[in-house]
Amino acid sequence: MVRHPGSRLNRARDHRGAPDDARVSGSRPGRAWTWLTEPLPAPPEGLRRGPLRADTFGSPLRSTRLTSQLGIALGAAFAVCFLTGLYSHVLQHPPGWLWLPTRPAGLYRVTQGLHVATGLATVPLLGAKLWSVYPRLFAWPPLRSVLHAAERLTVAALVGAALFQVVSGVLNIAHWYGPMPFFFTNAHYWVAWVAIGALISHIGVQLPVVRDALRRQRSSPARREFLLAVGIAAGVITLATLGQTVRSLSPIALLAPCRPGTGPQGLPVNGIASAEVRDAAFDPDYRLTVTGFGRSVQLSLADLAALPQHTAVLPIACVEGWSSVGTWTGVRLKDLFALIGADPGACVADVESLQAGGRYRSSSVESPADDRTLIALRLGGEPLALDHGFPARLIAPNRPGVLQTKWVARITVRSAS
């Protein structure tokens, strides 16, 4: 190790006397630990003004026990959001080594509904938790040691990331992208790792404090009522929004950004057809191309309708947490594989839309042999509405809505691996 004369480390060693008399601080990790934990000089007392004074915050409700209880609930909510969010990410970007089930068909609508509902219920929890520790922001002295500074930096990252996740999620389900100077999906994904990592570290740091507070401190009626109020707030938010995926709650879902059962053919739509897509979809020369392994077939809408038709009742489950069930009729994807002699058990399909561009113009089907994976032509017995993907769309079980490609123009079959 290079020694800088006058560095804090050396001062610490000088302070302790001869370098070799302290067994712990003599070793390299020991010295590093000393450097990390040595008290920093306190700022002059004259700077201790405003909220930095000891008696600024007067609420009788704050206690370490209350903060611990809120923290445990918030940690559980973050864990649910992280795991369900990770599942949604993996479905959209499947790693080759991971096998993902297509059953139960409604699994994704449950996990993503839970993701958004838990995230919304987190709003009062996070608010109350941050309120309960607000005086600690003005702790005196602000930085006791290098380690304390590092811990405060991690807490700042945790608070910033937590606010980022909750606020960006709320803005996203309201389709209000203006305030977010970034692409929501990827940012929400990576900041989730920062938030959950900072949370795990925070748990590690605070574990003894929480244990002690829950064991020794008594609760008070006023604090119980405060916790109850936070719980009621979360409950009211849940009741006012869950109807976007639980149909029976739809009539009281006053704050749900989407309403199942509404829209063309009784099904909501997130992305509507552009003028180019509309022209191409209604063009009498429309053909669906199925290609792969050097073979290729072109199918008109009449050709598709002449193939064996199958019906499946499957939900459209949006990443934004809403879902709505439809009765879809069309050609099984594996029957289209048979037209070019491909084995659906050993292949994957890339399904492309008539759209010229856009993030979701194509998607891959990893389990094309599934009986309920359709190129649907009809919804509820009628030809698809344009905004549902006329003339033909992909519909498959347990799949995020953005991957249920609409206005299908081309299916490319390739071997899985």
């Binding site: 309120w131 990592g197 949370l199 570290s201 704050l255």
Partner: protein, 135 residues
Amino acid sequence: MRRPLIAAGLLTMLYGILGAMLDAEVNLLGVIVFGAALLVLHDGVFLPLVAGAGALMRRLVPPGWHAAVRLAAIVDLAVTVVALPLVLGFGRDAGNPTVLPRPYGKGLLLILIVTTVVVVAGRKGSERFRRRGRR
């Protein structure tokens, strides 16, 4: 138990930070500015207002009403935060009526009125319940 947790957490954070830096579709500056702006607005504007309102409430409202006012304020504030982007309605799409289909301003107002009325009306009952619980 504690050191592995702290280390695992820091490594997880690092993974998120590196991932965001290497992801060409993440505008890193935008993410940092947005997160820092939220932090500053929350801790520098929102929480001082909440703490100030709490202090004002303790001074002006008779103690017997504190619990009821606090309950109504917490529920109404949380619901308003969730509802605000919907009420403002910047996400509405003229071509797509299934996005934000409801009158959210009316919905929010209804929830605020109902929760406040229920809390005020239920105050006597909850008082009685509380006294019984203490015995």
